[in-house]
């Protein structure tokens, strides 16, 4: 094998490895891009600080719909208190979701929120949400979980309906481990 062939081959091998890496780099790029543009219905992972700073636009009404679903055949009951609300942009509202573990084991679950249409997600803020943390339910335990939200008055006028949906996932920690508090 002469030097020129060796050199070209090694270069191409390097490109191959770089492109394999690029496939994985696309994952953080995708996240950053979605955060940056607010695409994809993703909402912030934590509460926002300046929710009170909005001016309430009482001349406008936006319908907010609530959807609750359970994934992976979890033996759970999960539903919103109300299916829809009429809200004024800028005002903070509170509603709640009810979840109950119908299974025989304790389950740690995590509710993942999504807002549709996707563009509206960046104008929909939660000031308090059960989705920020994992929720543990003993067998048979049920409880109401609050969510507090505000619609940014800058939501473009064409959006009259915003849908907030939660999907409950098993966090994969469904073991028989005892809650730490009891041990303490």
């Amino acid at each position: 094998m002469n030097d020129a062939i060796r050199k070209t081959s090694l270069r191409l091998l390097l490109v191959t490895l770089a492109m394999f890496g690029f496939g994985f780099v696309m994952v953080p790029i995708y996240d950053v891009f979605c955060d940056w543009t607010g695409l994809n219905g993703r909402t912030a992972d934590g509460p926002i600080a300046n929710a009170q700073a909005y001016e309430i636009d009482s001349s406008r009404l936006v319908t907010v719909e609530f959807i609750a679903s359970v994934n992976q055949n979890l033996p759970w009951e999960f539903q919103p208190e109300v299916v829809k609300m009429q809200v004024h942009p800028g005002q903070v509202y509170r509603t709640q979701f009810y979840a109950r573990n119908l299974g025989k084991q304790a389950i740690v679950g995590h509710a993942v929120p999504s807002v549709a249409p996707g563009i509206a997600a960046q104008h929909f803020h939660k000031t308090e949400c059960f989705c920020f943390t994992e929720q543990r339910f003993e067998s048979g335990e049920g409880r109401w979980m609050p969510v507090q939200f505000v619609v940014d008055p800058q939501l473009p006028d064409k959006y009259e309906v915003v849908t907030l949906s939660y999907t409950f996932f098993d966090s994969g920690k469904t073991t028989t481990q005892q809650p730490r508090l009891e041990i303490l």
Partner: protein, 524 residues
Amino acid sequence: MSTAAAHDAHDHGPASGLSRWIFTTNHKDIGTLYLLFSLLMFFVGGAMAMVIRAELFQPGLQFVNPMFFNTMTTMHALIMIFGAVMPAFVGLANWLIPIMLGAPDMALPRMNNWSFWILPFAFTMLLSTLFMDGGGPAGGWTLYPPLVLQTGDAFPFVIFSIHMMGLSSIMGAINVVVTILNMRAPGMTLMKMPLFVWTWLITAYLLIAVMPVLAGAVTMLLTDKFFGTSFFSAAGGGDPVMFQHIFWFFGHPEVYILILPAFGIVSQIIPTFARKPLFGYSSMVYATASIAFLSFLVWAHHMFTVGMPLAGELFFMYATMLIAVPTGVKVFNWVSTMWKGSMTFETPMLFALGFVFMFTIGGFSGLMLAIAPVDFQYHDTYFVVAHFHYVLVTGAIYAIMAGAYYWLPKWTGNMYNETLGKWHFWLSTIFVNVLFFPQHFLGLAGMPRRIPDYSIQFTEFNVISSLGGFAFGLTQLLFAYIVISTIRGGKKATDQVWEGAEGLEWTLPSPPPYHSFTTAPVIK
């Protein structure tokens, strides 16, 4: 293929028996292996298509259960793409690139042997999933999560077989690039290379750029399923739509990988039978490069319905339509090459003309699909199925068959039976249109793809399509017969074979000696 007698005392002929094929590092042997493997896979994938068309002959469930039906659609696609079309192109590259460039062999012969011999193992593994618990993969060849993660025991086997196919293609592609950049005969400048070599150079770069991305994507699927990562699982903060982005970042360049070498083949054949040099050689090169470049910017046109903002829909719509410009340049050049040429219509030319005409039909339906607002109607319907079968069957496969007829006399030293070749072309062309043209209507009327049953109003067109399918499938047995009988004997071919053929490969004897161009020819 043939027992090429050593014409020179210094030549080592092929080893005898089976070991010749297993240990061979000869580009001609490996090209032959690739082409025969591709022919075999063409019939395996074709048999699956027959199952699909038999089930769709009538509404209701007749022969197979829905799960198996979906396994058939998934496997048919994987086998035809990775087992039939791509190995056929690599086989043609192996046979032709060295003898078109005046090189003694491929640059990396040992790796060449590996890149072929990985394939039979990859496809044995893929086909073995049909017999596993939970059946083969049934979530479609696009492997979208979360559906694909419900695959049974077959899942890791499917992923590893895709890894192996990817490895094979990447090794093949590196070999092609290294050969073209380093092994050209003196005087063979880049802009003097035959267009088949040019299209393969660009295709090889595409392969090197995107096959690793596919490997990464399927690896993420694997870790999501077995190692608790959540790249695509919303429960852990991932997103299934991201898979579609990564997949189609591979997938769109992949569809050009499946067609650019076909452009190259047709650009070799049309000048020969029009007895005129190719019109607009350099514009052909630039058009190919532009198509390859644009292919990286249009992936999301496969996903118009996932919920993109308007700006995204518009960008991907216009970028996609832009591809029609360099493609139009190519079609224009092929037609202009024929303009006032002294044309004859031997079988390779018939297939090349069939390619130009019917690939353009597929191109037009592609333009219709590129229009984002109407794509919401066409998405995931038989219109899409009709579109990509026009560009892949009457596009890629027709070009491969044209190439097979065109170079078969060179490879074997024997002429094929021209009468049978013409029968093969005309029967194929009639039935392929009976098969796929009605699918446009089905799609426009709203028949979804990948579903084993349908509403009764779709019955008539499905009956027509299935009959065309069975006839097209049977016709391909004629192709296998013609190829095998040409390998075994026939009228001796001259060195030039075709009156209008030009290029280094036609200066060699037919069949070429086992080792050719051991001293490089000088290109004026």
